[in-house]
Amino acid sequence: MQKYRLTKYNIISPINNTTSMIFNTLSNAIIELETNIITELQNGNFSNLDQDSINYLMKCLIICDFNLKDSDLFESVYKIECAQTKKIGITIIPSRICNMRCTYCIQSNLFNTQAFKFLDLSTLKKIIEWIKINISRWNTEHITVLFYGGEPLTAADEMLINILNEFDSLPCKILYKVYTNGTLINLHHDFLKRINEIEVTIDGLEDMHNSKRITSSGEGTYAKIISDLKKFISTNPKSDIIIRINVDKNNRKPLIDIVNEIIAELGKNITFDFRPLIPYSNTIDNEILHGDLVDTAKAICACNRHLKSVGISPRLFTLECGVSTMSQWVFDTDGNIYKCSEHVAQTNQAVTNVDIDYLYSNFFKIMNRKFDNECLECKYLGFCIGGCLNQERLNKKKYCLKDFLDYYIPEIMRILYFNQ
C-alpha cells in the first residue's frame, strides 16, 4: 500500500537533460534531483529513496502521508503562518497627501480628504503605545516599519525623524523601509539615511515614465527623480535603493533599455523590483494592460537575466500578502488601524483604533479568510496566498496570476539558483 505522495504545492521544472528542480511554495524549499526519480515519485514509487531522504522531503512539504488532504496541509501551514508574531510589519502613514497624480493611482481617495492630512505627535504617541503593549504580548523580536502614504515624504522632516526615534526606543530589531515617488528626496536626506530600503518607482524611459507619473500640475517627474537619487546615492553609497518598475504592454519591450539607462545614471549599486501591472478596477483587465500576460513575464525574466549578466542580483517578485495574519498592521494619520495599506482613509475598512481596546467585526472577517477549491488545488497557492483581497473587492472578482506564474516561476528560479 502506498505510504506517501507528492503534495499539490510543488512546482516541478527541468534544469537539464537529467535533473529537475522542485520548488515547494508552502515551505520555500528548492531541491534538485534526477528527473527519473521525480517521475517515480509522481507514479507513487518511493522505493528508491532511503528513509532520510523521505524525511527531508516531508520536512520540505514536497511529499506527505498518502492519506493527508492537500487542503488540510495548506490550511494548517497557513494558520501557523497567520499566528506568528515574532516578526511583524508595521505600516505608518505620515501623510495622506501626494504631490503626484499618477494615471493608474488606486489611492486617489486619500487626496480628497481635508482632515487628518498629516500624522501628529499625539496620535504617534498613541500608535507607539498600542504597538508597545502588543509586541510585549506577542513576544515580537523584529519589526519592519514601512513608511507609506499618500507620499510619505510630504510630511515634515521633523515628524519623520520623530517616528524613527519612537520606533528606535522599542525593544526589537527594527528594519525601516520607505515607498516614495522619489520627487522629494532632496528635502529628507537626514531621514532617508536612517532607512534600510528606499523604494522608488520609475516606469520606463523618460517619455514613458512622464506619461504616467506626473505631478499634480501635470509635469513629468523622471529627470527630478534621477537627479535627486543621484545626489542622495553620492552622499549615501551604502543605502539600499530599490527601483520598482510596474511592467505592462507599453514598457515591457524596452525593459532592458530602461534598466540600462537607470544603471548609467545611478550605477550598479541598486536593485530592481519588476511587477506586472495589475488591474484595480472592474473596468480594466489583463487584456487592456498586457495583451498577453505571458509576454510580460517573458520580458521581466529576460531583464532579470540581463541584470545578472551585468552583476546586479535579481529580486524575486513575491505576492505574499499579510492581510490575514497577526503580523501586519497599518496605522493611519487619524489613529485608525487597518490590515491593508490600500484601505487607509476608508474608515469602514478599519479593524480597530488606537483609542479603543477591542476589534471591529472587519478584523474577524479579514482574519477568517477562506480559499475556494480552485485555489486549494493550485500549486501556486503557497506563493500567492489566493491573491489580493482588496483587488478582489475592487474588481468584483478573483484575480489570478496563474498564467504569469507558469512562465515566471521556473524561469526566475533557473536564473536565481541554477545559473542559467
Binding site: C60, L316, T318, E320
Partner: protein, 37 residues
C-alpha cells in the same frame, strides 16, 4: 533527524538549493533577511 544543509547532495540524489522555511531570494544583500519569511 539528519540536518541537511544547503548545497549538500543527499544520498547522491537530492541536492538542496534552498532549505525549507528560509528566506527566498530578494536581490539586495544589504538588508537583513527578517522581513521576508
Amino acid at each position: 533527524m539528519v540536518h541537511i544543509m544547503k548545497g549538500e547532495i543527499f544520498m547522491k540524489k537530492i541536492k538542496v538549493i534552498v532549505e525549507p522555511n528560509t528566506t527566498i531570494h530578494k536581490g539586495s544583500q544589504k538588508t537583513p533577511d527578517f522581513m521576508i519569511r
